[in-house]
Subunit: 192 residues, 2 copies
Amino acid sequence: MARVGLTPERLARAGAELADEVGFDQVTVSALARRFDVKAASLYAHVRSSQDLRTRIALLALEELADRAADALAGRAGKDALTALANVYRDYAREHPGRYAAAQLRLDPETAAASAGVRHTQMTRALLRGYDLTEPDQTHAVRLLGSVFHGYVSLELGGGFSHSAPDSQQTWTRVLDALDALLRNWPEPTGS
Amino acid sequence: MARVGLTPERLARAGAELADEVGFDQVTVSALARRFDVKAASLYAHVRSSQDLRTRIALLALEELADRAADALAGRAGKDALTALANVYRDYAREHPGRYAAAQLRLDPETAAASAGVRHTQMTRALLRGYDLTEPDQTHAVRLLGSVFHGYVSLELGGGFSHSAPDSQQTWTRVLDALDALLRNWPEPTGS
DNA sequence: CTATTTGCCTATAACCTGTAGGAAGATGCA
DNA sequence: TGCATCTTCCTACAGGTTATAGGCAAATAG
């Protein structure tokens, strides 16, 4: 009865790999058990449920993504920082589609508050210090950037841009140009 | 043995309702069969598979969304049209979260090409006629708008904006201001 | 070197997908 | 009206997934 040496952390890491290979929603306790050549029931000693496993993978992905973002932002400012941060999300999603999908998992408020998700907000806010925005516009801009990054990446990943010209890379470059221009020239509220 | 009168269309409609109630990923053949007080096996006479059912719900949602968008755009131009279209997506997602999630289902290329998805692109393009963009910037702008709408709506739906000030409605208004300003003042490519 | 803890096992129940074949209701045609 | 046929929904079943309960053996502590 050889012991494989399962831990919640190893399961989350292996689950993340599995997600990248077969898709996050195909990650099951059974499939993960097969990967360790172990019975599914054995995994329940380490994770409470299938949902618990997914949450651990999501938290892992959020951490990795935040670490990459922190790396990319170090020593950069302005458009340079904007581009770097944006590319972190896009590249991560392309390298690790399953993990990226996991990072979108809806977490309950306490879990979310304790997750690396908050670092993402903080870093976006730090990036915006290179532009001249004061509250509440800074928060609006944080949300806008999050929306564009996530929206673009998920549409691109879903194949939305792959069957028409011009190619996605060109649009991406121009979108970052546009966001930079917008942040440098953030409009006043309209009268309406 | 009373006949219930199942058809693929009725199943898709009921599936859409079920999705709004319990979430798109909780839509199963079994659950739908229970809703009609019928055995799961019976549904397979009308849909080929669980995946087929999901696809039908996705197509239904895309249609509904395109119809609403066409309605909203009629007789509007410029920022008025931009706001109207944006609100269609946001309102639909809030009213019908399950259907909205369904609309994000990844379709195979042929199905996607035959879906109402293409109408969405066309309408966004029509909206952009109120701004002064030529190709390929128009395509870039279509993709940007799609990204912002989808990204914002999905982050908002995921609860991302609900636990911090200012409230999401204010950000939404300002994001639309910002997009309008950006489209009216679309930047040249940068030299890099 | 025994005693306890830990890790993985078998067994089992419930639910979901999907297929095969059967019976009752609906429909068409004489 | 009566008969044949088709359609609709059924039962039965096989295979996969989640989850719990209880058992035995390996690792570890005193």
